[in-house]
Symmetry: C2
Subunit: 323 residues, 2 copies
C-alpha cells in the first residue's frame, strides 16, 4: 500500500502517474480539504475534485482545474444577480469558476452532506461515479479552513483561501497562515491506518504551506508521518527556485523560508527521510543532505503522463532499493 499526502494540481498529476505504475487500489491519497469553501450554499472541495477529475482523465488539461469541454451557462446566468446583491453579500458571485458539469458534483456532495453523510463517504461515492480506482480520503470529515493574513493596498486583513487564490489571483503578500478548526479536527476514517501500514508514504509536490500544511495540522497526522520517516519520500514542489504552478515560491519567502529545495528540505526533514528534487536543482543536493534529507535527483516536471509515471516509478524505486 502506498499513501500519498495530496493537494491540488501537482498532487493530482503525480497520482495519475502513480496509477500507471501500480494497481490503483493499492494507493490511498489523503487530500487537503482546508481549501474547501461554501459558495451559493454549496460545499466545494477544489483539491478533492482536481484529484478526482484528473484521475478520471476528465480534467481540463489547460486550466488544470475543472472539467474538459465544460460549459458555463449557470455562471453567466449568475451575473444578473451580482447586480442586485446587497453590499457585503457574496450571493451571485462569479469570481469562482463553476462550470455546469462541475456544479453537478457540488450539488451531489452538498445534498449528501445535508443528509448527514460524512465527507469521506461522499468522496468515495463521487470517485466511484468517475471510475477512479485510487482511494481518495479527505484529511478530515471535520471542517478546517485555511485563513491567510494578506496586505492589499496597504491594508492588512484575513481572508479565506479561495478569496486569496482565485479572487485575488494569489497576487498579494501573505504574512501569516492558520488553519481554523484544525486543532479540534480528527483525521478521517482510514487516514491513520493508511499511514501506519503503507510501505511507502509520499508527500506530493504540492504547496507545503497551504496544501500539505493543513493535512499535517490535523492532530495525529504529522506524528503518524514522522513515525514512518524512513518510509516517507517528499517530492519538491519547487524547481530551480520557482513553483511550477501557484504561489508556493513567493509564499515560502514571505513566511521566512528559503524558496528553494533547501527550504523544502528544512520543512520536511522531521517527517521524511528522502526528498526528490529536479535535475535543475542538482547543485543543491548537498544542502538538502545537510538539512537532514537524502536527496534523490530526477526529472520532476510532469509535463506529460509518461513523465508523471516515470517520476512515480522513480519514487517507488527509491524505497524498493533501500529495503
Amino acid at each position: 500500500v502506498i499513501c500519498v499526502l495530496a493537494g491540488g494540481v501537482g498532487a493530482a498529476r503525480f497520482l495519475r502517474g502513480l496509477q500507471q505504475a501500480v494497481p490503483p487500489q493499492t494507493v490511498t491519497a489523503i487530500v487537503n480539504t482546508a481549501d474547501d469553501m461554501r459558495l451559493h450554499g454549496l460545499t466545494i472541495c477544489p483539491d478533492l475534485d482536481t484529484c478526482t477529475y484528473t484521475l478520471a482523465e476528465a480534467i481540463d488539461p489547460d486550466r488544470g482545474w475543472g472539467l474538459a469541454g465544460e460549459s458555463w451557462q449557470v455562471l453567466h446566468a449568475l451575473e444578473r444577480y451580482g447586480e442586485v446583491r446587497p453590499t457585503g453579500s457574496s450571493a451571485g458571485a462569479t469570481w469562482f469558476g463553476l462550470g455546469d458539469r462541475d456544479l453537478a458534483t457540488h450539488l451531489y456532495r452538498t445534498q449528501r452532506l445535508a443528509e448527514g453523510a460524512p465527507l469521506s463517504a461522499v468522496t468515495v461515492e463521487i470517485a466511484r461515479a468517475w471510475g477512479v480506482g485510487i482511494r481518495l480520503v479527505p484529511m478530515s470529515d471535520d471542517p478546517v479552513a485555511t485563513k491567510l493574513t494578506i496586505t492589499d493596498a496597504g491594508r492588512t486583513s484575513e481572508v479565506d483561501f479561495q478569496e486569496y487564490f482565485v479572487a485575488r489571483r494569489h497576487d498579494v503578500p501573505v504574512s501569516a497562515v492558520h488553519f481554523a478548526g484544525a486543532a479540534t479536527a480528527r483525521p478521517a476514517p482510514g487516514v491513520l491506518d493508511a499511514l501506519a501500514t503503507a510501505q511507502l508514504v509520499v508527500i506530493a509536490p504540492s504547496n507545503p504551506i497551504v496544501s500539505i500544511g493543513p493535512i499535517l495540522a490535523v492532530p495525529g497526522i504529522a506524528d503518524a508521518v514522522a513515525a514512518r520517516r524512513d518510509h516517507t519520500v517528499a517530492i519538491s514542489p519547487i524547481v530551480a527556485g520557482a513553483a511550477l504552478k501557484g504561489p508556493a515560491d513567493r509564499m515560502l519567502a514571505e513566511l521566512g523560508h528559503e524558496r528553494s529545495v533547501t527550504g523544502i528540505a528544512r520543512i520536511y526533514a522531521p517527517l521524511a527521510a528522502t526528498l526528490v528534487i529536479d535535475r535543475a536543482d542538482e547543485p543543491l543536493a548537498p544542502a538538502v543532505a545537510a538539512a537532514g534529507m537524502e536527496p534523490i535527483v530526477t526529472d520532476t516536471v510532469m509535463a506529460t503522463l509518461e513523465r508523471a509515471a516515470a517520476l512515480a516509478r522513480n519514487v517507488l524505486g527509491t524505497i524498493a532499493a533501500r529495503q
Copy 2:
C-alpha cells in the same frame, strides 16, 4: 392597490395580464411557498419563480415553468451521480427539471438565505434582477410544507408536494393534505397590510387546495381576506368541470368537494363575495349564487396575453362597478 393571492402558472398568467391593465407597482402578489423544496442543498421556490419568470417574459411558454431557451448541462451531469447514491438518498436526483439558467436563481436565493436574509427580501432582489414591477411577496418567511397522503399501488404514504406533483406526475389519488409548519408561520412583512389596504383582493385561478390553501393556512391571512370579503374576487381555476392545468379537478373530488365552479364557490364563499366563472359554466351561475357568491361570467382561459389582460380588466371592472 390590488392584492392577488397567487399560486403557480394560472396566477402568473393572470398577473401578467394585470400588469397590462394597471401600473405594475400598484399590484402586490402574495405567493404560495408551501411547494418550496430543498434539493441538492438548494432552496427552490417554484411558484415564486414561475411568477417572476412569467412577469419578466422569460418563462418557457410551452412548459409553463422554467426559462425559455434553457440548457440542461447540470441535470445531465447529475445522472452520473444518481447511479452511485445510496438507497434512501435523494442526491443526484434528476426527476426535478432544473435548467442551467434557472439554477442560478436557486444558487442566489440559497446563498442569501444562508447569509440570514429573509425570503421576502431575497424575493425582492430576484424580482429586481428580472425587472419585475409587480411586488412579489412570499406568503411567509417561515417554512411551510405541503404534505399529501397518497395511495400508490395499494400503499398509503405521505409525500412532499414536488414528489407528488413532479416525480409522480400528480397521477396518484390524494386522501389528505396538510401544511406542515403553517400553524406557527407568520405572514411575511407587508402581507397583512396589503390585504387590509387593497382596493381589490383577487384570488387567482390557482389550485384552491394546494396553491391558495397554504396561503390561507398561515394564521391571520384567511381572517384578513374574510375581513375584505366585499372587495375580494376569486377566479375559478375550474372550467367546465376540469382544471386547465394540474390536478385541481381530481384533487377536489378526492377530498370531497364538487369538481365544478359550484364546488369552488362553496370553498371561497366565506372569503370572497364574487366568483368569476367561464362562459362554459354559465349554466352553473345560479348554483354559484346559491352557494353565496355573486357569479361573474366571462372568458377566463388565458390562452394569450390579450386574453389575460381582458380577464384582468373584467375583474377590475367588476369591483369598480360596485363602488
